[in-house]
Symmetry: C4
Amino acid sequence: MDPGDAILRDGRDLRAVVCELCRRLHRAGWASGTGGGISIRDGDRAYVAPSGVHKELIAPEDLFAIDLEGRVLERPIDPALTTSACTSLFLHAYRLRDAGAVIHSHSIHAMLATAITTGSEFRISRLEMIKGIAGHGWSDELVVPILENVAHERDLAPALADAIRAYPATHAVLVRRHGVYVWGRDWRAAKAHAEVYDYVFQAAVELHRLSR
Amino acid sequence: MDPGDAILRDGRDLRAVVCELCRRLHRAGWASGTGGGISIRDGDRAYVAPSGVHKELIAPEDLFAIDLEGRVLERPIDPALTTSACTSLFLHAYRLRDAGAVIHSHSIHAMLATAITTGSEFRISRLEMIKGIAGHGWSDELVVPILENVAHERDLAPALADAIRAYPATHAVLVRRHGVYVWGRDWRAAKAHAEVYDYVFQAAVELHRLSR
Amino acid sequence: MDPGDAILRDGRDLRAVVCELCRRLHRAGWASGTGGGISIRDGDRAYVAPSGVHKELIAPEDLFAIDLEGRVLERPIDPALTTSACTSLFLHAYRLRDAGAVIHSHSIHAMLATAITTGSEFRISRLEMIKGIAGHGWSDELVVPILENVAHERDLAPALADAIRAYPATHAVLVRRHGVYVWGRDWRAAKAHAEVYDYVFQAAVELHRLSR
Amino acid sequence: MDPGDAILRDGRDLRAVVCELCRRLHRAGWASGTGGGISIRDGDRAYVAPSGVHKELIAPEDLFAIDLEGRVLERPIDPALTTSACTSLFLHAYRLRDAGAVIHSHSIHAMLATAITTGSEFRISRLEMIKGIAGHGWSDELVVPILENVAHERDLAPALADAIRAYPATHAVLVRRHGVYVWGRDWRAAKAHAEVYDYVFQAAVELHRLSR
């Protein structure tokens, strides 16, 4: 088992898990440039990656620890680092859904899924993979709200909170021509959800192409 | 040779082989979320992965050993783990075909191949890769039965058994908008078959697109 | 530098180079199942992989050494292994072109390039990557002969020899709905050619789609 | 953290960084065959890879060090190696933009982006990833000049210099049916820019397909 797999299998060193998941986000094309991100909650605190850095290269000492109001509890040694621009969005999933982790992906599949969908809801049904989202069967309709993108990521936070409240069954919120926020009750569920939603978005785009 | 390749090259530690193949299933996109799976038979017993876990992170001590009636002979230390929902499907391939291993893939190529096919049979011919399926030449028609998906994976078992009996030349059964079950006389043959069928499904989808 | 990169960088242990290139062939999707292959020549002998095995798992002791008439000089310890079905095709590139290595790929891009081309020649021009094929400028027309596929790989050999003689500027021969044979003056040139041809075939398929 | 990640995280050994980034260029499909390249500047000198070699296999001792007029300060031990054909193009980005690194990619996404664009400018707007290019917001129009390709890479240099002067906001120049040159204030910015532009080119091609 390679060292990264071993970190995830053990799963108790949450700072190390954040870093390993960031490496996988980048490898999957979900965090190109310095985009995308992840946060993991540990009780009433959460770890977040810094903003504007290469996500596949971060180490545990680069992370911020914050409380669930967003106050910084611990900061990286490097004083130039600032918390991820997604932090306020992560907090909504923690507070409104009791999520244990949130993944923000810039996957091209998520982006294209919003481009083929008019209106504010992505909908799909009858895919086995939908069973991978908590609370859903394969023939249930999977509904993901789509927010319109804005200039500053932090300004998405109120709309994200509204969508989380309006769609109690969702574990993800899409952002038009931008990407997706996905969460779960712990980081394992968030990782599984992120993989399943990505598959579903890709499937939707391919099925859309084949149907034209 | 990396440690994973060495496990497969040696090939005698079947518990380790199950884990290494699970890692490759995940890397290939065939086991996103906690989907997909594999079982390897060792005489009158078989190893199966647990249900609902990240397939790329399992270790030999997580596996169940079952007999060919599905009775558990050995269970993981972790009492929370349950056998894969595919277990009864794997058993049909063992009992009806004397298979040595079965791979269940959620590959998007397999899923799309069922989406472009109306009716209950996927058919293709004149692809060199078809020679990679035991008993087939390149210009033979490769026929793969397609089952309609159902709510619970275990409820697919009777239809799978019927399809295995009705299509004696097949080494795979597709499930609509779900994925595919592939087997072979041993795990090496099952792995090769799984790669060949996946190529063929991708080729069929691409050729379909180019022909429209 | 990882061990595989170090083997290629040094490049003198040709048996180890064959094995490392086989691993990369498989990773690239050019040797799914047990398809594809490679041979490297060392003066008046050549190394070839065995037939019907998982190409990413072979080790130096699995290789055959043959002379340029195809006579076996050294064989693997495992008596069950037989020489690759491509051997007679590899020999034509050695004898007619003084090639130093030949790569046989089942890349889906090569296969699709033959599917969008009617007639016996693949032609493309005005791609910078064409400069990567010895003797070609970017605006030269790259012409690759296409053979019709046959039931047994060895029966392709006479047509391959004819194509090699008829197209003195080519370093590759395509086979319809099958794949491609690519060579170069040594294994480094064959590897570079194989990557360039694969890019060109993919580009041709994508440009064809975009032009419709 | 694997050794390649550790080299980039530390980031101070620029010769090692050039080699590690070349490996990643190749893995991403941006340097197939012996194409693509990278240069990193260190004050008034710059490191460049040799021409016509497998970019994923180079080592620090293979690099040239040049001054910003292109004069060779240090050369590899191997006397057969010559400087990359892109060297004069890299120098324009250093001198006209004070870039700290330049990446030349043969990515098929960049090539296809030039194929779907008539005229001499690639334009796109309203993609979150555009924020990843210095000086741009998500709804700003990202404009990348496109040069027509020429027979010899060095003959692109005057047109590249003109484009750099004519488009002061760009950090990239495309070359028709060839690829892209991307730079940044240091190698980290150049790497991030290269990943973002590649995402944007892929997105443009996919959105073009979906809109037809």
